[in-house]
Point group: C3
Chain length 444, copies 3
């Protein structure tokens, strides 16, 4: 199986430690769904792995949507009569509503209020707010600061541009031994939020970096793109390859102290779901059913695509108090939790990659394993784990059960089942094929 | 959704109150499976709703059966030597075995005994007994009174007629916007028993009356007919329309203080079953699997028809001590329990009527809801129930899940899901069709 | 239903008592997978039932295997310098590794050690060890005795022959009223082990003996053959009849004090599994899923055959401490436990035999049972068990449910359901066919 180094806690922790510097460099960049913040983020990823970079022009139709205008921002502030900046983009790039259109006006506080966003119940945090698909502008600030604002007048400036340009995304492709593919997707938008989603970006980068040292069975694509419009764009441009996708993960929010959380694919029971459950159940992870609210799995699992792509996070969405606020900074990333998440992702990915559908070529009765050196020579006492795994693979290798099914059904570790399958393949007792998009078990 | 008034407890209670007078008028009528008692009962229903009335001649073949002779009774008694009536039909019409043939004889007590029916363990109650399909006669009486009978002789008179005539049943039809149909069936036989089944007759009447104020999606037929032979007759005469039936209920025994009880259709998992569970689970109702003993659901759910018609009662069959005795009188009808049952029936019927099978016309990726005014404009915080319902409908609108499925799967109220489906239909993102006879979930 | 006598505890106990003498005669025979010990065992079975005996030549290909050389042994010992036998086959035939090749040498203890097998943790027991498919020799002994052995030299003799000959197996065939078949298989190998498997051999013999007094519905084959190679040989020679097999049991290890244990067929949900569960659940038996390790069910349930043949034992494999040691002698057979096992096997077999797939010929509505004398004549009170069973059979007789399904679904005893089915068949309301190899319920 692949990703050996990251599949151990020590290896994952070591890799996460090495990634810290890159995350620090990414943190201050103002990433939105388009613009130079995204491009600079991709530059930093490219220090680790080669990327195929894509620039898709504003206005390009992608499924029911269009690629939006490109947004860039140089500066933004609200200054009082003395010229003092009471809200300052230079201090924190969450202060500006993402995708704010340019503005340069003098306004009273009353006129400004409809453009301000704060959190009365958490007055010390700056909220993160966006308006991608409707032209407006706004500022986000600590509620404590908002309450101190005098009546004005204020100089209000957003020095941004919202003009035809491009949406940027990138792929790191690791070719496999077959033409079956798998996807890891992580969202590159969100400025100055560490858990959401520098943790996902960096985890995907480390996984791609490790994967490139090996030859996986599947061709793996690590896709770095903005939320929603990025996955929609990738899907629109890759429809031809979708029926070759055997599995995959959306990664994000992997560094907080919440429990590991796997969200099933829409169909449930896909190879990805079963691989994830096999790895994550013993870790005490939460495994939740698909729901259509969430991250980019919404698009991969929309009913017209219905891909076998699940999602791995720690606390998803609003489940941790720092979510979408200035408190989601690098101090929120717990080294041990982050290493565990990377290790778990590596293990799930390794299972998806090693999974296959064995077919017993000698299914009438058991084959004589002893003659082939696969079974002990003195009878009368119980066989060991390897012998049991051989019998389980032979018994369930009927084209209906892949290796993860066999591991689940037998109670054996996937690794033992995979070694038995390999031995039986080498003895020409079993022929395996890559499992494509098989569903078993309970459906929604 | 339809039946708005009856879907509230207050509305249901108010309607049940108004129905009290009709139930008092119905109570003394000697209803059997044929005869003038049934016709007079239909007359009283017709004060509330127009009926299509049917008279089917004795001897008409209906499936494996024949319509029986028509039975009418004027008087019946057992009188002692002094001429005193010791058993008197005029005092209570349960005193006569239903369908007793005429008799006029003088007999000793010993000769009379085989024709007497009483309840030794409940000596103060008159039992209800019938002999529809074998010619005999008998009297039912309080066991206490039976023990007091002297050796006789007695004058024994049943002044009845059992001759070729007709079986009477009636339908109140409320046309819908589609040619898909639904059925509410209630049995009109049983003399002077209030819970079994004036409660069902009157509930069906109130539901039909309320339904006529509105335009349902489905065409609803409220059928008033005798038990077993009535539903068999209706089925025999309506075979051509059976494949248009999307759901329905058999109603009866709705006024006692036992728990609401829904009995699943034979197949289980039909739209009716799922609608009933959605409504009734939160009320703490009992939901029981189909069994072939019971009321007219036996016929609708016989394997050759296997219709999606469930049954709503409070205590079914022998589950309450007054069952099939003179104690099942109008005092047994608990106003609050009866109102709750009418409300529950209205809610189940409303769900069956509003249920439909949505198909996502833009299933590749999510459609851009914001552009259509269906989604909030400031991103970054969690969407509300309506937005969640939109996403759930879009996600499951794959032709495999109807609106009740979507409500169940999402944990949202059916009403929220139905409003979202309507909004998506109006935005041309979803096209729905009436769900016909779909089964999902567990089968027997 | 068949096997009436053995289906009662008293009848089973009486039969087991009569079998005791035969088991005592079988115990000292040195049974291996081939040879005269097996033939003499079959001779003893033939005192109870006629057998069709088969001799299959060494080298005959059977599926992936070949029939091995035939092994016979006259004597074997290890003697010290004084000529005293320190290990003596005459004392216990477990002392020789089964299938030991001939040897006649003088050896030191150090040279002998690799050929000795003992149990350090149970020093007073002789283990049972075999080497069927690799030519070697060895001795098994109490560990306590092994520790007392001096340095030698020793005279080491195995006076055996391993030469082309035959594999012996036999069948007792009881013809049924249909061409559908069922199998009882029990392994005849294992020398001087009482529970494993004189208990199985004798139980199968008693069942065959009782079955011959009656005319079952199915043709039953009681097959007596060695483990693994015996069932493989039978399967290879009977492939043409496999699609006629409706059910069956592998029997073995039925006399110890462990709980009755039924192991499901590979597919689960077969008629055999459902019949076994119906009989065994009320007895508190363990019912376990299929696993590919075990006895001859491994071959019958290999994926290329996948037959509906389950396994009934008490403690299987290594689950009792005396397993595969000299402590598995006749004193281990608990009379009460053995009788219970025989009774349970008889009941499962009777259900498999009586099971059938009824089809309701009058499925539109209920047929009028009263007219046919199948239903009480006074209505108004609840019907009895027979009437309920009639309704259940009619309701589920749709070609999807066999009689065991109907018993399970209704909660009625199989016997009541079977009587109702017979009455409905006689009334021409139902037509039944033998259920072949139907699977329902959960699969692995």
């Amino acid at each position: 199986m692949i990703l050996t180094a990251l599949r151990s806690r020590a290896g994952a922790a070591e890799a996460a430690g090495r990634a810290r510097e890159t995350m620090q460099a990414m943190y201050p960049l103002c990433r939105s769904i388009t613009g130079n913040g995204v491009r600079r983020t991709l530059d930093l990823i490219e220090r680790w792995v080669p990327l195929e970079r894509h620039e898709v022009a504003s206005g390009t139709p992608v499924l029911d949507w269009k690629v939006p205008l490109e947004w860039n921002i140089r500066d933004a502030w609200v200054a009082d009569a003395s010229g003092k900046r009471v809200i300052d983009f230079q201090a924190h790039n969450l202060h500006v509503l993402s995708y704010s259109v340019p503005v340069r006006r003098t306004m009273t506080l009353d006129e400004l209020q409809p453009h301000l966003h704060s959190l009365p119940d958490r007055p010390d945090l700056i909220p993160y707010r966006t308006s991608y698909y409707r032209e407006q502008w706004g500022f986000c600030l600590r509620h404590r600061d908002r309450e101190r604002l005098g009546p004005g007048p204020y100089e209000v400036v957003v020095d941004s541009s919202l003009v035809p340009g491009h949406l940027s995304y990138a792929e790191c492709i690791v070719p496999g031994r077959t033409d079956v593919e798998a996807i890891v997707y992580t969202h590159t938008c969100h400025p100055s939020l560490a858990n959401d989603n520098l943790s996902g970006i960096m985890a995907a980068t480390l996984l791609a970096h490790a994967m490139r040292q090996e030859t996986p069975q599947l061709t793996w694509r690590f896709v770095f793109g903005p939320g929603t419009i990025g996955s929609l764009t990738w899907l629109a441009r890759n429809e031809v390859r979708l029926d070759r996708i055997a599995g995959g993960l959306v990664l994000g929010l992997l560094g907080d102290q919440g429990p590991l959380t796997y969200k099933r694919t829409r169909r449930g029971g896909t190879a990805t779901d079963r691989a994830a459950a096999h790895v994550l159940r013993p870790l005490g992870a939460r495994i939740v059913d698909f729901e259509p609210y969430g991250y980019d799995e919404r698009q991969f699992c929309s009913p017209g695509f219905d891909l076998p792509i699940g999602r791995l996070t720690r606390s998803p969405n609003g489940d941790y108090p720092e979510y979408h606020t200035s408190a989601d900074d690098l101090s929120l990333i717990d080294a041990e939790c982050y290493a565990q998440a990377i290790q778990a992702a590596a293990q799930v990915i390794a299972l998806i990659d090693a999974n296959r559908l064995p077919l017993n070529l000698a299914g009438k009765g058991e084959p004589q394993l002893g003659r082939r050196g696969l079974y002990g020579n003195i009878g009368g006492s119980a066989p060991g784990e390897f012998e049991h795994a051989l019998l389980w693979v032979l018994s369930l290798a009927d084209g209906e059960h892949d290796l993860v099914d066999i591991a689940d059904r037998s109670g054996l570790a996937f690794g033992a089942v995979e070694r038995a399958a390999t031995a039986l393949e080498q003895a020409h007792l079993v022929r395996s094929q890559t499992a494509r998009n098989k569903t078993s078990g309970a459906r929604p």
